[in-house]
């Protein structure tokens, strides 16, 4: 990659399009562009805190998330409003909401991450194969992707959950294997673009095996857009998991997830008079997904400096 040798520019204006063609490496340039997306930076920090809190839940949770919470007066606290002992109150069967929120974060975040990883892997591999081999392979896989995308995913996910006993693993598998299509389309498009480049043609002329060309020449060059897609995929997966668990077909109680914590609030009593039961998990999902989306947006701007995009 040739970089025009212009002298380093003065610090860029905060709102202008990110300057390109500066005399610096792509990694450094990407980092600079990303750093300028202030909301993305803040989001990354928030996500870091959320991630650490989820990992450290067993050590920082004030109470046992599955056991009855004993209040300051030595009695079991049922549906207690937030107070000194229970910062976010307790639920109808006397469990500490803050502790459940922390443990629920473990479940919701890891399902989101792993499901997105499954989707990206499946989509990338199929996209590589379809884009590289073309012809019939491409047509069959592409039509298959179209057919899967035709189903409103949630409908199919719900139908499948009617025979597969819901568990963390089944939720990951169902979400992962039904949301690989965007990654597939992206990877296929990238490969179609890359296969005409000189270095891929050279690798082909040298007689490199297909797998090697895909792994060494195609995959690494397609990684930036795939990373952006993966980020947005995590947000999507967290939302899907929460919806499934909210409907009672995802993560099953007593295991807490942010989605199934909200399921209790489907009763009007809880909704109207015990807001501490449903606002914290709902806000947790909202803030997490919002931050992931900001992060993805920042990454997209950072890897694509030429794009004329609005920034916040």
């Amino acid at each position: 990659m040739t970089v025009p040798a212009t002298p380093p520019a003065a610090p860029p204006a905060p709102l202008g399009p990110p300057g390109c063609g500066r005399a610096e490496g792509p990694a450094r340039r990407t980092w600079r562009a990303f750093r300028r997306h202030r909301l993305a930076l803040v989001s990354a920090a928030v996500l870091l805190v959320a991630g650490v809190a989820a990992v450290a839940a067993p050590w920082i949770a004030p109470h046992d998330p599955y056991d009855l919470a004993i209040g300051a007066n030595g009695e079991i606290a049922f549906a207690a409003p937030p107070n000194g002992t229970f910062p976010l109150g307790t639920d109808a069967i006397g469990r500490d909401v803050l502790s459940r929120l922390l443990y629920g974060g473990r479940v919701s975040l890891s399902i989101g991450l792993v499901a997105a990883l499954v989707a990206i892997t499946v989509g990338s591999v199929l996209g590589l194969v379809a884009g590289w081999f073309g012809g019939w392979t491409d047509r069959v896989v592409s039509r298959f992707a179209d057919a899967v995308a035709t189903f409103p995913a949630l409908f199919l996910i719900l139908t499948i959950s009617s025979f597969v006993a819901p568990s963390v693993v089944s939720v990951i598998a169902i979400i992962g294997f039904l949301s690989w299509m965007p990654a597939f389309r992206l990877m296929r498009a990238e490969v179609l673009k890359l296969r005409t480049t000189v270095y891929v043609e050279a690798a082909r002329a040298l007689g490199g095996p297909h797998v090697r060309i895909m792994a060494v020449h195609l995959l690494p060059n397609a990684i930036p857009p795939i990373v952006v897609q993966a980020t947005l995929g995590v947000a999507e997966a967290i939302l899907t998991e929460s919806a499934l668990s909210f409907l009672g077909l995802g993560v099953q109680p007593p295991v807490a997830s942010w989605g199934n914590m909200l399921a209790d609030a489907r009763s009007i009593t809880v909704l109207s008079s015990q807001p501490w039961l449903w606002i914290p998990p709902g806000a947790a999902i909202f803030v997490t997904v919002l931050c992931i989306n900001f992060l993805g947006d920042g990454l997209r701007d950072a890897i694509n400096p030429r794009a004329t995009r609005q920034r916040l």
């Binding site: 179209d146 919806a243 409907l247 009007i268 449903w278 609005q310 916040l312």
Partner: protein
């Protein structure tokens, strides 16, 4: 145009066939069969086999599939394994509420996204622009059940402006206009949830498309000839910016359908989505599968209409 539509319909039929096959395979993979749901557990093995033979359950899978497909093609979607009622009747009663909900949401989503997208594109990097973009990010990040609960909490429980749930008020035998008004009031909150999510998704694309169109030569020409700014924006930039948006609108339909499931559950809306959730809990596979088939048909129809609309808004497109 006509050959193209026919071609697309044929393509859609192939996809539906694939969908039906996947659906049938899932039905088979489900533990147990229809017999074990209804039959007296004390039945002898011989009688069970005889009953299965009568229903064709002893036939090879491809034969079973073709027979099932033949039934579906003639409009017989089978019987609910929960109530024994014909599936077509069960779904038929639920289609209208869902279409009312989705149709209203769809029109309002489109109107809101086009309006906000255009006015922000006309004033990029202003507070209005940042506000709308921020709201759009919030809209795509909020789970619809949470926004639904917040709306119920604020507008139904605290302020009492709208009812919390249902299609219309029970027991209140409204007639004529009063009934329409009552139904409209019930529609406000669920539609708001769907519009919030849908418009948030779309408005960023509309804005991007219009911003891009505003940089085109024909916009400069129009301005140079002295066309008023509003006309340039609406007539020259928005019209051309609509092209990529039309495709996205077709793709938004599956999302709208999926969103309606959660919304119907929260607002106790008697539509297909809620029927699906009820069926899934009752392991009522025939009903669940049929709903999937109906949903897939709706989505295919939507994407076909989007492509036809594409040809209408862009006279350069000629399908042949």
């Amino acid at each position: 145009m006509l050959p193209y539509v026919v071609h697309r319909l044929a393509q859609g039929a192939v996809i539906l066939l694939l969908v039906s096959f996947v659906g049938f395979a899932i039905t088979l993979a489900a533990p147990g069969n229809a017999m074990q749901t209804f039959i007296d557990p004390g039945i002898s093995v011989e009688d069970l086999r005889a009953a299965e033979a009568r229903l064709g359950l002893d036939q090879p899978v491809p034969v079973q599939y073709l027979r099932w497909l033949g039934q579906v093609a003639t409009g017989n979607l089978g019987w609910s394994s929960r109530t024994g009622a014909p599936v077509a009747d069960l779904i038929g009663a639920r289609v209208r509420p869902t279409l009312t909900l989705m149709g209203t949401a769809f029109v309002l989503t489109l109107a809101l996204a086009l309006w906000l997208g255009t006015i922000t594109a006309a004033r990029p990097y202003t507070w209005l622009d940042y506000g709308v973009t921020g709201a759009a990010f919030a809209g795509i990040s909020v789970p619809s059940f949470f926004s639904g609960m917040v709306l119920i909490y604020v507008f139904a429980l605290q302020l009492g402006w709208f009812p919390t749930s249902g299609l219309e008020s029970y027991a209140a035998d409204y007639e004529g206009w009063a009934r329409w008004l009552d139904r409209a009031r019930h529609l406000v909150l669920p539609v708001s949830v769907l519009v919030l999510t849908g418009a948030a998704e779309l408005v960023r694309h509309v804005r991007g498309a219009v911003v891009e169109a505003l940089q085109e030569d024909y916009v400069r020409t129009a301005r140079g000839k002295g066309a008023p700014p509003g006309r340039v924006l609406r007539h020259h930039a928005l019209r051309n910016g609509l092209l990529p948006v039309v495709t996205l609108v077709g793709l938004a339909l599956p999302r709208l359908l999926a969103g309606s499931v959660v919304v119907e559950v929260i607002f106790a809306w008697p539509g297909m989505g809620r029927l699906l959730v009820e069926s899934v809990f009752a392991r009522d596979v025939p009903v669940a599968m049929a709903i999937n088939l109906v949903a897939a048909s709706l989505v295919l129809l939507g994407s076909l209409l989007a492509d036809v609309a594409y040809a209408v808004v862009d006279p350069r497109v000629r399908y042949g």
